[in-house]
Subunit: 421 residues, 4 copies
């Protein structure tokens, strides 16, 4: 495989190509192929961007049909038939069945753009600058979003410009099982000299992907919603990684029965890995004036098309959800077994997650890296997350076949045993 020009010309900022130093060429559902023809099962799935698998034939066909004629590809924020079809589909298949009433903003096709728009919306609506976010939260790295992202790797790379306007609170479980971390948040909200500027909004992931597959309890989320209501604070759920079915529901917050004021989606939203994002907001929050937020690619018609196709093929009824939940249980069970085995070796390990967003916490990044390196040798692409990379995580396509899922799990188990023996 020719990699010289890649090593020479691409910035040192590259990361995944260090863990998986091969040139990938082809991919189908949960299988990746490198240039030498070697196949890998993919438990990373574009970091949660390929919930419907690589080259999903149903979604891809919609793209090919669209491209077959000279349909408009790039449409700024024009009205296009593709956008209209997406909005209709979103309303019909997703919002209405869930009793949700949202307006939709297309802020530019990346998650960080959606977060920038969402927190600006909250600030403008409430006339307050502060946004509460949580330990180990990840919401993007552009400067506005970065104020809500906990990772020092990014926070220390701003060239000395401190972020402005975010305050971190402890996420559910951060202080141990005995402590409800919202007690602290609520106490600070009620404290006139506690140093917490009353926030315009709270931004939260129901399951923290980059932060280490940390799972917020459903009661905790419900209580958080209640605190927000009581203090006139907007609840923003960042569903960029946990949404689009990843946790076993279209929106990850459905499990908790909360109704956010603002929702951000991206990653798997386009269905095929195309850049795409939207912000959903309660209609009364839509106080934007024309053009107050913009971006060149906010009308990428190919993504509207594939996104609508994904909804149409997977979200007409609850069968897809149920299948994801079933696979989630398979992974959970197997991860628990693996974690138990690791613990038996004297390395404390535990399983956690929701739906098909699951991880094994092995306590150290070094151990996790050994496992994932061995897995890659054995034909499995799997990554870590968490502050130290200590969680081996499974973000496999939701559409993975049972055969591939089981084979992937087998490889992982083997790799764990090889790595830790």
């Amino acid at each position: 495989m020719q990699t010289q020009i890649l090593e020479r010309m691409e910035s040192e900022v590259r990361t995944y190509s260090r863990s998986f130093p091969v040139v990938f060429t082809q991919a189908r559902n949960a299988r990746l192929t490198d240039e030498d023809g070697r196949e890998y099962i993919d438990f990373l799935a574009g970091a949660g961007t390929l919930n419907y698998g690589h080259n999903n034939p149903k979604i891809k066909q919609a793209l090919l049909d669209y491209l077959a004629e000279d349909n408009i590809i790039h449409g700024l924020d024009f009205w296009t038939a593709a956008k209209r079809d997406y909005l209709e589909t979103l309303e019909e298949l997703i919002l209405k069945p869930r009793g949700l009433d949202y307006k939709v903003q297309f802020p530019g096709p990346t998650g960080t753009n959606a977060v920038e728009a969402a927190i600006r919306l909250a600030r403008n609506a409430k006339g307050r600058h502060n946004i509460v976010t949580f330990t180990n939260g990840f919401h993007g790295v552009t400067m506005g979003a970065l104020a809500t992202t906990g990772n020092r790797k990014f926070r220390e790379a701003t060239g000395g410009v401190p972020t402005v306007g975010g305050t971190f609170m402890p996420y559910d479980g951060y202080l141990g099982n005995a402590t409800d971390t919202l007690d602290y948040f609520e106490k600070l909200l009620g404290d006139k000299s506690g140093g917490l500027d009353v926030p315009a909004g709270v931004i939260v992931e129901t399951v923290q992907g980059e932060g280490g597959i940390n799972v917020a309890g459903l009661e905790w989320l419900k209580r958080l919603e209640g605190i927000c209501r009581e203090h006139d604070i907007l609840l923003i759920i960042d569903d960029i990684q946990a949404g689009c079915g990843r946790t076993g529901k279209f929106f990850s917050f459905e499990h908790a029965g909360v109704v956010p004021d603002i929702v951000t989606n991206s990653k798997s939203l386009s269905g095929l890995g195309l850049p795409f994002s939207h912000v959903l907001m309660r209609p009364e929050l839509d106080q934007w004036k024309p053009g107050q937020y913009n971006g060149t690619f906010r009308g990428f018609a190919l993504a509207f098309t594939t996104a609508a196709a994904a909804l149409k093929h997977y979200w007409r009824d609850d069968s897809f959800e149920r299948d994801v939940q079933r696979k989630g249980r398979v992974v959970a069970e197997r991860f628990q077994q693996i974690a138990a085995w690791i613990s038996e070796q004297g390395i404390e390990a535990s399983e956690r997650g929701r739906g098909l967003m699951r991880g094994i916490d092995v306590g150290s990044g070094e151990i996790a890296d050994k496992i994932t390196a061995r897995a890659f040798e054995n034909g499995l692409v799997i990554e870590t997350s968490g502050q130290d990379g200590e969680v081996v995580k499974c973000l496999c396509p939701l559409t993975i076949t049972d055969e591939d899922l089981l084979e992937g799990l087998d490889i992982l188990e083997t790799s764990v045993k090889q790595a830790l023996s």
Copy 2:
């Protein structure tokens, strides 16, 4: 045309659909078609994103070929054959022939992302927080980029959070023809109590697109480069709108013979309107540590593919450049005539631009709006720019046929006369 759902569900932030309230469906080169089958000549071209026209068949074919097999579509920042091909092509056809030696970062597929990465790179490299930018500059609206964007519409919509780390200097011509605005910048640089924090970098567009087709003189750009060198400041050229041939050269700064330390490209970079951007940097500036800047869609293989195809088809020799320059002269001449006619009506008007990035300044947004509204009725999509929208601008596809170009110009002339009579 069904527009109810669009009006009901899409956020009030929408803009272009207010000026052009139709549903567009198809598009080919410089022609747009709405749902009722009406055709429009497109002098907007995705705000400079469609330099090669809508549905460019050569570029599109590369996309279709790529999609014909299960080639990887979304690759995070994996090494992929598509990325490698893009880098090889970029080096061979663009960088080497121009004597440029740059490393390449893919920071996420939007221009604002590229700017965020570029200014962070400059700050980290120089250990200073300030970035000098220019009046009427536009570099994106995420909070980091917004510090360098002059438009109050965006700056006042941050929900009360001031931007940090940008200082505005007067752009070339801002203080009239008699004043070299760099005198002020240079004086401040040398003044220990002038209030200017020594900047890490200067970010500049050689022609300001959103700002009103303001054209920096070649001597001014050369002097700016000299000032940067002398004061150890990095020169960042934001070529997101002016690059990819728009001004008659691949990079807009080639006209001035300057060599920036950092370059941002996006918009037309993918060739087909797909979200895509890169940051070019002198190799010694590439001090990123792995993963210090990230984003989900930084390895969008479809865009690598179409971007490489665009380079291969249009940039093997200088024939495309020469054709753009020729068309630029056609537009310039006609715009001068139109401007002269307007001036004769007692409304002072003037033409300006470089290559096919040209405008007629009619002095007020109200008048410009009348003209573009009439043009739309007459079958021409054309937009305004400038602080008050006072410049009617032509950003037609570089690939526009002579017939369409002339017809578009005819429509514009007719519309001007109708609007101002």
Copy 3:
């Protein structure tokens, strides 16, 4: 009493004159007299500025002696005999006996100025922007200091400019007695994605005056010092209110046996109520370049003179400390009785404090206000603190006579009973 011009001309920002709407004219030790000749016992003492009482004759005599000749009064940062005498006295009577080795900065004569200098010093020394501060902390209201001050009254009055560079942690006891709040701080320090930017310094009051007479445990302070050492973070003790003997030691941190890297003093430092402050720093931290921090009144020779006199008269041996401790016990005992009585009335109340910095927490500002209003009627000036003004606090002069102390306590007790009956 003529108050019209005061009401008409003085800004609405005035506060104490609302609680005590009389014109004060004379004052001696712990007694204030208003224009009508009415006397009040003073349990406020300039909010801790008059530890040695009003018009302390020994200190005042030094001032009069100094003024008797044409000694220099205002000396910028010249070397003056008055400054030299102060430094010698400080070293001889305070630093050496306590085994402390500090350099001294005179940053301007107010506490907030000292805090601005201290946190800037820490940031410059460590090359990090963040300063950790604590819930209910008060460190001044100029924009730099305000980043470390918890009170919303000030934080919300900045005209929309968010403070930059401070992060709040829970103070000792904030989460109840069962929780050591430093667990949270330590966890965040060790968490690479917890959102805590590694701080340059921690700023803390050992007893929070404005925050509600919250007392940090000695073990907690010791542990905090250890955490700072372990993580290479500077420990800044803000001893502006708690210092100069208020807690029964010259420096309030002596009780805990910690040695701060930086100390701020002001308020009672001049001994007579003259504006004065200094910053003490470990010598190796003194990396200021000449003139990097300035202010017109940093060489106020009258304050050097009275400050030296105060040290000479009260700090030659430990008799003053012991007397303060004794009086502190008297107040503590009486406050406990009063708190117990209040609790018996069904209003939960408790006593807390260290030395002569003591308060009764009555749970609500409304109740506390009733008590202090009644006390004022009865001839006692006493104020509240805490986020809701819920703590009736005693900051009487340390030099108060036993008679006045007991009379003041009697008045308070009577007032409590009148107010709550």
Copy 4:
């Protein structure tokens, strides 16, 4: 002279003691005496803090009278007889005769505190965060004030925290005599994409003291006032150094006939060098809520007393003003002669100033330092200002005797000739 302890214990931040490395002990009017009994004429006068001279006997007597009884010295923001007397005197002798109607805030006794309060007031009143300030302006170094101070020495010593909320415009004359710098400001105000956030206020010195005795033209100031009125921007005159008679009028803005919305005074306000400041504001701007800005020393009764005495003795009629103007002409004439002589030596030099705030610009700090060092040897304390310290400035007491003034000028002339021969 014993200086060891001063060198050992005082922070390296000290400055004036480097230029004048002696221990000063006594001082009277315009004469300073060091510990060895050597006398110096004082052309620095506490950097403009001692307009009425050292140990002014009339003002000092008021202090001694006040101290003779147990009058209250430190009064927080209580109503005191001393404060009332100051307000009455200020109204009667200063405000009324000038037709000014202001409310008064005592924000803490330093200039930077007054500036912090003033800009916060403006921001709160207008609901905008930006404050426009000018090149070479100096308004203090606490973080809020520093946003409006141009000097890099301070701006680069914040430990990496950028200031927020200030924008610099070119001061009068900054771009040469041919350019009215307000053209640029006005253009930016009217430019919707020029990058200037519409300011809440403009803060300006009519003569820049630290910035190099730069004198704003009276027409320029008048035009600035007009621009502020037209754009609903508050005009804040920082009269901390130029006020209290320094320019030949009590307020320096009287010359131009402008009426600021907000005024800051400090330095010579107390008359005797005691820390003191106030903020004057149009009554309708006094929207502070009780206690929104505070500080321990905002009721320093000794300063109220001396400040009232200074007004009573010097501002009952215009004789003092006229005397200052006369002396100003003496200095101006002599400075012109000296500047002419310097220019004859091939070093371009020029005189400038207003009233007794005057300087000779010798073009380089090195030359200026030679002159002031030689002057000190010859018995004259005189300092430099300007971005490079290139201006030898005279800020002698306004009360200086004609003999001392002439002797000081003679020494300066001799020193210039010695230094440059």
